[in-house]
Each structure stands twice: as C-alpha cells, then as structure tokens.
C-alpha cells in the first residue's frame, strides 16, 4: 500500500471543504477528499493506501465528513505524529484506524507501507524501516475492538465502565 504524505496542521477544510459537505453520501464524500488541496488524491488513491502526516492532522471543524471521506476514498489508516482531538475521536468512532507515530516524517510520499493494527507496527518497505506507533489507551481500545462507538453503545456500553 502506498503512502500519501501530507504536512503539519492539515485541517478539515483542506480534507473536506465546507462547500462540498452538504451531503451524507459516503461515496460522494470519498470523491471529494482533498478535492482542492490535492485534486489527484481521490482519483489515484488505491484501496488500502495510507495517509502519512505531521502534527495536528485533522484540526479545525468537528465535521465527521473528514474521516468518513478519507475512509470512503479507500484509505486503510492514517499515520501522523499527532492528531487533532475531535478528528481522533471521530476516526475511532467510525472505525478508521489511526497510528500515532513520532517518526512519521521518516516516511516519504510514495513509499510502500505495511501496517499491523494489532502490534502498532508501521513497516516502511521502501526504506526497510519499522516504526512503532503509540498504543491507544485501554478505554479507547475497547471502542475500537467493538468496531466503533455505535457498536460499543449497542453492546455493554457504559454499563461496565
């Protein structure tokens, strides 16, 4: 899977401009991911590719359309040095895997990446590097294991917290 590299402070207006988000159609949202910032992205991204970014990825609006669009475009995970808080929760909630990885900037655009959600390992096959992502807090892992917040609340939810 290919790495699509982005910089710091990639905001939700860049990911999904507000003028394009008057919809809940997942397919359409997948088509508009980075539509103005990187117009070739949605056309060329392949199922399973990953986004690699710097600090504060997903800052700005609370719009869940942003992680929904990234997931619908076929992206299998986002690797970043840090994530903006609401984007982070939104991604966990909708089942888009995130890797918080301090060394994300060692990865270059176009590198071939393999990921293990279980171990949190990011393997840059182009460079022969294995990077380690920070594990999620236990509470959030439980939400991920249920497949997102909806399923978490449908099962035992907050009862056993």
């Amino acid at each position: 899977m290919r790495a699509w590299k982005f910089g710091d402070d990639i905001n939700t207006d860049v990911i999904t401009p507000g003028r394009y988000t008057v919809t809940v159609d997942r397919k359409r949202l997948g088509e508009i991911a980075f539509i103005e910032y990187r117009p070739e992205f949605a056309k060329e991204v392949q199922e399973g590719d990953v986004i690699v970014a710097g600090n504060n990825f997903g800052c700005g609006s609370s719009r869940e359309h942003s992680p929904v669009a990234i997931k619908a475009a076929g992206v299998s995970a986002v690797i970043a040095k840090t994530f903006a808080r609401i984007f982070f929760r939104n991604s966990i909630n909708i089942g888009l895997p995130l890797f918080v990885c301090e060394d994300a900037d060692k990865i270059d655009d176009g590198d071939t990446i393999e990921l293990s959600i279980k171990t949190g390992e990011v393997h840059d096959k182009t460079k022969g590097l294995v990077l380690k992502a920070k594990p999620l807090p236990e509470f959030m892992q439980r939400i991920v294991e249920k497949g997102g917040l909806v399923n978490f609340l449908r099962s035992d939810g907050y009862d056993n917290v």
């Binding site: 207006d13 919809t23 504060n56 909806v150 609340l153 449908r154």
Partner: protein, 411 residues
C-alpha cells in the same frame, strides 16, 4: 492537591469525588447539540443505537450553517433533521441564530456539561461550564444515552492582566495568544482564562476568548463564573472555582496593555501579526458576525465607526448578527440603521459566509477581512481567495477605507 474548574465539573458530572488529568470518565451531559451540517450524520448514528432520545428537552438542534437553505441538497438535509425533531418531540429546535449564541442565551449555566457537534462548542465555557466540540457519532451517542466519555484534560492557565488600550479588543488578545501558543500548542488541553482583565471584561468578550481555544487545539475554554455571569444569564448555576493549589501543565502571563490590534493571515490561524504588517492591503469583502464576534457590543463598535460615513466602493460589507435577539437589539439601538446607511448588507443570523456556504462567498483572488475564527484555505469560497482575521473594529474601519487599516485611527 487541588483541582481545576474543568476537573471539578467533570468529577461532579461523573459522580466522582475527584478526577485527575488522563483519567477516563463517563459524564452525564446537560445538553447535546447538533446543527444542520452535523445533525444528519448524528441522527444516523443515533438510530443505530436506540429510537428515543435520553431527554427531549436536553437534545438541541439548530439550523445555522446553511439557513435558509441555499441549495436543494441543503433543504434535503434540513428535511431529514426536521423529521428527527418532530419524531423525537424535541423542545429545542431553533433557526434564529448561531448555535453557540443560542446556547448561551437559552441553555448553558455554570457547572453544566455541554457537548456539541461543532468544534466551537468551546465558546460556552466562558460561562463556567465544561463545553466541548465532538463529531456527529459522539453526539448521536450522547443523544441516545445522556452520557459521554472523556479523557480528563491537563489544564493550561492564561493569566490576563491589565486593560487593553483604546481600539484593542478581546479578539486581538486571543489572536495574540493563538499566535504565541500555536495551532497545536494546547492540543487536548483545557484552556482556563483568568486574571483581572478577564474579570473586568464583558461576558461577550469572555465568549470571544473561549471561542478560539480550539484554534490552539484546546479541548475546552473555561472561565470561572461570577456575579457578572449570573446577571448576564438571568439564571443560576453551580459555580466551580479552581483551587489555589490546582495543577496546571503550563501557565502563561499576558499583560494585555501590550497587545496591539492583531490580524491572522492565511492560511492558518496561528499566523498572527500586528495589523501594521498588512496595513494598506486592499480588501474586497469585510464580514462582521459569527460565534466569535457577532454580539451586540461587536455590532456597536462597528456601527460607531461607520456612522455617518460611507464604506469604500470596492468593498462588500456584510453583517450577520449572531442571533435574532441581537439583531432586534441592534435595530432598537439604531446600529443596524447606521450600518445600512453606510452601505452595509445585513444578513440573517447564520454561519453562512464563515464557511463559504452562502451570503458572501469569495471568488479567486479576493481578500476578505473577517471577525470570524478561521482563515483556512478555501473556507469562504475559492481556494485562491484569502481570509484575514481581525477584531470587529478592524473589520469596520477597513470596510470604510477599502483597505486594511489600524482601527485606533477610527475609534
């Protein structure tokens, strides 16, 4: 060891004696809000969890992001949200203002926990409440359960002392702070504003400060409630105060008399400079409004500046009061008349121009000076249009001059 206001409110809402930063808690929410842009996805998630809201008087829907609907797509989403309001018999459905302003006017009290599907839900923390923005699925979950999980944030203290010089406002103070701290400098943190400046300014100015906590990455903005808060709201609440020995991850000392009129230059909010850096730059649009600066005192400042004068021919001056109550008050005071006579265009209360949905979209190559909180690429229209953030005074003075000017020459 003492606790901060944020820690005390989260402890209270999660039925614990005390909580510490990094604890995970499940808190009762006082209110769960979504607006026309985020409600449709929240409603989808909600119905996957349950078919009845936890409390029909505590789930709030506001149409402000594209109201009245400018497109068929917008009208279709409105229809979906309206059906939810009717089916769930919600008492709180509004189309008469920007959500955060309405939540201040009608709902939030000191000590409350408010979750809103809008990132600027940090605004209402200025009332001494824990208020934070979340995405649609989180809000759908809160609408279903009346609860929400949180990681208790570390707190940052911003101690603001002194008073601003004439022509310098809370917007300039918070822009200056965002410039210093950076767009990710308060990531996941509670931003607590305190000091004699905060005590002395209006509740409206306090709301402006907390509104932009998210622009530093903050989880919430918060200000201790006082008698001024209670009188402003006309309702009681539970006042929490930070202990003297509360622990802050970092403390910032800011003497506000040193703050000059500020601007945030595109394409990010922490690209802050004194207004002198761009003085003389031509503007095509000036926008006064939003949850940051669309309140009565903001409109008053602008009206005083333009009264009896004419805005420059090359500028569209758009004014959108943050709520219909503010609209009426500004009309009764004569501010709207002053703005219209000067050549301004008054729009209905909404977020429209700030997010490029309608009522003031920019084309390629245009520059807008705005009292809003974000200047991201493409936010107000074309990706090659530029947004410069400033105080209402700088916006109004620049509308008169047709170019960016120092407002101190106009107030």
């Amino acid at each position: 060891m003492g606790s901060t206001i944020t820690e005390k409110i989260l402890a209270n809402a999660s039925h614990k004696k005390e909580v510490a930063p990094r604890d995970f808690v499940v808190a009762d929410v006082s209110y769960a809000m979504a607006h026309d842009s985020t409600a449709p996805l929240a409603i989808e998630s909600f119905y996957k969890i349950t078919d009845k809201v936890f409390d029909k008087d505590r789930v709030i829907i506001v149409f402000d992001h594209f109201f009245p609907a400018p497109t068929v797509a917008g009208a279709t989403l409105h229809q979906k949200s309206r059906k939810f309001v009717v089916d769930q018999k919600l008492s709180g459905f509004f189309t008469n203002g920007v959500c955060h302003q309405l939540l201040v006017e009608k709902y939030v009290s000191p000590g409350d926990v408010l979750v809103g599907a809008d990132s600027h839900t940090c605004t209402e923390g200025a009332l001494g409440a824990f208020t934070t923005g979340l995405g649609s699925t989180d809000i759908g979950g809160a609408m279903a359960t009346g609860k929400c999980w949180f990681k208790v944030p570390e707190s940052l203290k911003f101690n603001l002392t002194g008073s601003t010089k004439k022509g310098v406002y809370a917007k300039d103070v918070i822009l200056s702070i965002v410039g210093d701290v950076g767009a990710a400098g308060a990531l996941y943190k509670a931003c607590e504003f305190t000091g004699d400046y905060v005590k002395n300014v209006s509740v409206s100015s306090r709301l402006t400060l907390c509104n932009m906590a998210i622009e530093m990455g903050g989880k919430n903005g918060i200000i201790e409630a006082d008698q001024k808060t209670i009188e402003f709201l006309g309702r009681d609440g539970k006042i929490f105060r930070s202990d003297k020995d509360a622990v802050y991850e970092n403390e910032y000392e800011i003497e506000v008399e040193n703050v000059e009129p500020q601007v945030a230059l595109p394409p990010v909010v922490d690209n802050v400079e004194p207004v002198s850096a761009v003085e003389g730059r031509t503007v095509d649009q000036a926008f006064l409004g939003t949850c940051t600066n669309g309140r009565l005192d903001d409109i008053e400042v602008a009206a005083r500046i333009v009264k009896g004068k004419k805005i420059a021919r090359n500028v569209r001056f758009i004014v959108s009061p943050a709520s219909q109550d503010i609209y009426l008050a500004a009309f009764e005071k004569g501010y709207l008349q002053d703005l219209v006579k000067a050549g301004g265009t008054i729009c209905n209360p909404s977020c429209g121009p700030c997010i490029g949905r309608h009522e003031g979209v920019l084309c390629e190559g245009e520059t807008c000076i705005s009292s809003q909180n974000r200047n991201f690429t493409g936010r107000m229209g074309h990706p090659k249009a530029e947004i410069i953030l400033a105080s209402p005074a700088t916006v109004a003075a620049s509308a008169l001059a047709g170019k960016i000017v120092d407002p101190r020459d106009y107030v």
